[in-house]
Symmetry: C2
DNA sequence: ACAAAAGTGTTAAACTTACACCCATGC
DNA sequence: GCATGGGTGTAAGTTTAACACTTTTGT
């Protein structure tokens, strides 16, 4: 037995208390709303949706939480996330990004639990099929897609000195699914001091949302917006395999919460898509071509 | 006692095994190399350096590892990182960014340990003072700044089909501090499949570097390069409070490992700096103005 | 005819890039 | 004078942004 082996056999690994590690996910999708008037020539409205699970047990029983689960021995945290995602949505092929780690003490009444927060984007087609499966699932989890809105309510910038300033943003988060309404106010406090930025999110109030998940949702949706702002093709992951450019543009607009100019948008994404021969005719207007992603153009990123 | 409290008091929180959670840090700085010939009119060369700690205990005794430590109960993972950073470098004011989580099984022979990998940037002035303190420190840790080089050795792109392709990059990592040389080869394997990217880093060989740290270093240095590429002002965090534009440009060049065109660089960063009245005269050429960061221009990011 | 959405073209402004050039200093 | 780096200007090329316009469909 060499020194290394000897050390390890004597090593008391349970000397210190350890945290539980969870992967929590903000799963986004975009869904078309049913239009009541059949004769209306307008396209159906689309909404950004977030998947939430109704808690069946305390703590926060009957409130709504992000889907998630604990890291199991032998798997990576990405595998945890992918496993949970498949269980909750049936989606195999989601975009998955680790966004942040939430490790504040007392964030979970059950004990010391840190959360690795993921963003997941699933495409509409896969989702709408599989949501039915969730509801019919044997473990009878109540999962719902909530229409989500996040708005800047108030923004204050305080210049303390030449080199120190503070930014405070108040966000209002609203989620709606049929008759259920979840609301929260989350403050983002940014300090520039000694040339360094320090960001802190704080829940002002949270109605119907379990744990610190209002904070996580705010944080991840902001990240999604930033991602799509700098690189619109990120939003492909919310689209089915074949889509119209107008559909794609409106997906981007819904995320960014602002209107874009059509010709400019199309020029910007021109290289990332391939026109197919297929067309869609869906109402009283000129039919539109279907496009698919141009995988080769994603090259080198 | 209500239902919530009852549940929590009966909740067996230790039913499942839990991992230890560590914060490991790639601490970068840029240092001027001493120039041997005093009469030389050239500016001193600068090098990108990474802080490594020599392990005093098994496993990997006498090999070099990234500075880091375990998450303690009651602190956030950012607090862990900041605490460790201060202990190892004395730096109070580093830029700190959580880059990735390494949670592969068997990555640490001591047991189940996941690592939250941070990037830290410390400014040269603060560093050079404090490195002395580390060496003289009572816990006698051997800490060294290693000159670091990371080069793409080989790059292959395989197109499997219209929608599937693979990218393989071989990186060669070299670190040198006086007579000590650390080397590693790390492979980056990227797969695009079903419209989704999957990235995997794999250590091909690793000489003198403990654990999977060669992988972490490669991953974080790549991220630093990406950060600086898209936003040069990130490199401010490697500069002292007052600096010349040439110094700043060469810092960026060292990170990106490529030369930039001076007038263009200056135009790009013009808004982020403020010219002071101070000048530096350091040799046989025209003196240069000192600049400082223009904090107000960082606004809204 | 007309409403709705698909799809293209045009121009000015802004930014990027690659150069060329002059300036101040120490030896 | 000349080597070395500091510092600025210009002109071509590219990208962005705002706007106007034509086309195709169902009612």
């Amino acid at each position: 037995m060499n020194e290394e082996q000897k050390f390890l056999s004597e090593y008391n690994f349970n000397e210190y208390e350890k945290p539980s590690v969870a992967a929590d996910m903000a799963v986004f999708t975009i869904m078309k709303e049913e239009v009541s008037k059949e004769d209306c020539r307008k396209l159906p409205e689309k909404k950004l949706k977030l998947l939430m699970i109704k808690r069946g047990n305390p703590p926060y029983k009957d409130l709504w939480a992000l889907p998630g689960g604990f890291l199991k021995k032998g798997e990576t945290i990405y595998e945890t996330a992918r496993r949970e995602l498949k269980e909750e949505t049936g989606a195999q092929n989601a975009y998955l990004e680790l966004c942040n780690v939430f490790s504040e003490k007392d964030r979970d009444p059950r004990g010391w639990i840190i959360s690795q927060a993921f963003m997941a984007l699933v495409n509409t087609d896969e989702t709408q099929e599989n949501t039915q499966k969730i509801r019919a699932g044997s473990d009878a989890k109540e999962a719902e897609w909530f229409e989500i809105r996040l708005e800047k309510k108030e923004e204050t910038n305080t210049v303390m000195s030449e080199t120190e300033m503070q930014f405070d943003i108040l966000y209002e988060l609203n989620m709606v699914s049929q008759e259920i309404r979840l609301n929260a106010t989350v403050a983002e406090h940014k300090v520039y001091q000694d040339y360094h930025e320090l960001v802190e999110y704080k829940i002002i109030n949270s109605e119907g949302i379990a744990f610190d998940h209002a904070k996580i949702i705010t944080c991840i949706l902001n990240r999604l917006r930033k991602n799509v702002e700098t690189d619109a093709k990120m939003a492909f992951d919310l689209m089915p395999e074949y889509f119209t450019l107008t559909d794609f543009q409106s997906a981007v607009e819904i995320i960014l919460d602002k209107q874009l100019v059509k010709p400019n948008f199309r020029r910007k994404i021109a290289d990332y898509v391939i026109k197919t021969d297929e067309m869609v005719m869906d109402g009283g207007h000129r039919p539109s071509y279907l496009y698919k992603r141009n995988v080769k153009s994603f090259y080198g990123q």
